[in-house]
Symmetry: C2
Subunit: 218 residues, 2 copies
DNA sequence: CCTCCATTCCTACGGTGTAGGTTTCGTTCC
DNA sequence: GGAACGAAACCTACACCGTAGGAATGGAGG
């Protein structure tokens, strides 16, 4: 295990560290992720990482920021006049879902850390601007950030943590104690599917539209 | 630091361990929480805990289960005929929110671990039964679990992790880069407030009702 | 009184994050 | 060209963590 001589460049950078970190978490999970494993993967001494990232918390920030950059919605999705906020919201949500499924072990990080990276704020600004251009009530627009991403984070967290590497395993219910839920079980076959996601996303967007309609004509 | 002699009863039990665990996490946060600190607080050797709880993962399960039992909705909230599912949903959501605010540092645990404890299932069964009694479309009822608790978990996670002990601190925005969001900032003063919660809960419920209406008359 | 067993404590091991100091290389300036 | 400097890497060491394995002890049942 011959390491590089001191002083020689290892080509470390915040971006490369984060990228390898994402890959490591994807493969082995958050529990097994640490400075030492990451350093080994990078072919580097553990402490070298600290010259680019301040501590483990900052390291996790970098990792979560890295996966967030994968969320991209092509320009022009909101239509020519920039007013089709609903289409934009749908595309953004789907792109977010895709990212979450690509990186299920990383995803929990996003839901806890306040997202202040430019890439996250830019996406939000775009959506919010589109809604405002469509002249939705301001309070509805202001609440959308929490409504939509609150739902996305909570829903995806539930779906992704309920599924292991071997697939989904729903809990077994006692039909005597929980008759209604047992009866509804057949309707939950598509747990985590795109169809399910679309249904629920639809519900949330319908709620926003409804409140917008009530808000403009009180 | 004289410990108890071996063999003498320390009055340990899963419930007491969990209760003290909740208190400890509330005060010092999840990071500082561990078997050793918990044992010290209980006046007990760390390894004694393992005779009642199998490992750290199970310990966290016990802690999260303990806070979940605090969510109670008085009987009869759904009305005499048991069909006022909306009122029941509102009360359940508020009780859940109250619990989350009482135990902000514990709350993240609930969003990751699959909730299969009887107390959680019972609350869900009750809500779902009420919706079914009101003859909502079955698929809507089946989806409600993920819709409502997805939203609750994601929203509360965002609100609670964005606020430290000193109160809320929203990120500072560059008005040049994010003009719309900056303009909307004044409307976000009640971040984490009950009023905000009610507005967004309203939105989600409106979405469910809307989809129910569309579902029954396609 | 003796046996048994659940409960508790003790020791020890491999792992972690990271503070502090040392070494080396590439650059910059005379 | 040679010396001085700062960035980037490495090394050592420490306190702490989860937990495996085993020894001790007191109370319960015969």
């Amino acid at each position: 295990m011959a390491r590089r001589a001191q002083g020689t460049a290892a080509g470390l950078s915040r971006e490369r560290i984060a990228a390898v970190g994402v890959d490591l978490v994807d493969r082995h999970g958050l529990d097994k992720f640490g400075v030492r494993r990451l350093a080994e993967e990078l072919g580097v001494d553990p402490m070298s990482i600290y010259h680019h990232i301040k501590g483990k918390a900052a390291l996790l920030d970098a990792v979560s920021e890295a996966v967030l950059t994968e969320v991209v919605v092509p320009a022009g999705a909101e239509g020519a006049d920039g007013r089709d906020w609903e289409e934009l919201a749908r595309r953004t949500a789907h792109s977010y879902r895709d990212m979450a499924h690509r990186h299920r072990r990383v995803f929990p990080l996003l839901t806890t850390r306040p997202q202040t990276s430019p890439v996250a704020l830019a996406a939000l600004e775009r959506l919010v601007a589109s809604m405002r251009a469509a002249e939705l009530p301001e309070q509805v627009v202001a609440d959308t950030q929490l409504t939509l991403f609150g739902f996305l984070n909570g829903y995806l967290l539930a779906v992704l943590s309920g599924s292991g590497d071997d697939g989904v395993h729903l809990p077994v219910l006692d039909p005597g104690c929980y008759p209604t839920m047992t009866a509804l079980l057949p309707l939950q076959t598509g747990f985590g599917s795109v169809a399910e996601f679309d249904r629920i996303l639809d519900t949330v967007l319908a709620g926003i539209k409804d409140r917008a309609a009530r808000g403009t004509t009180p």
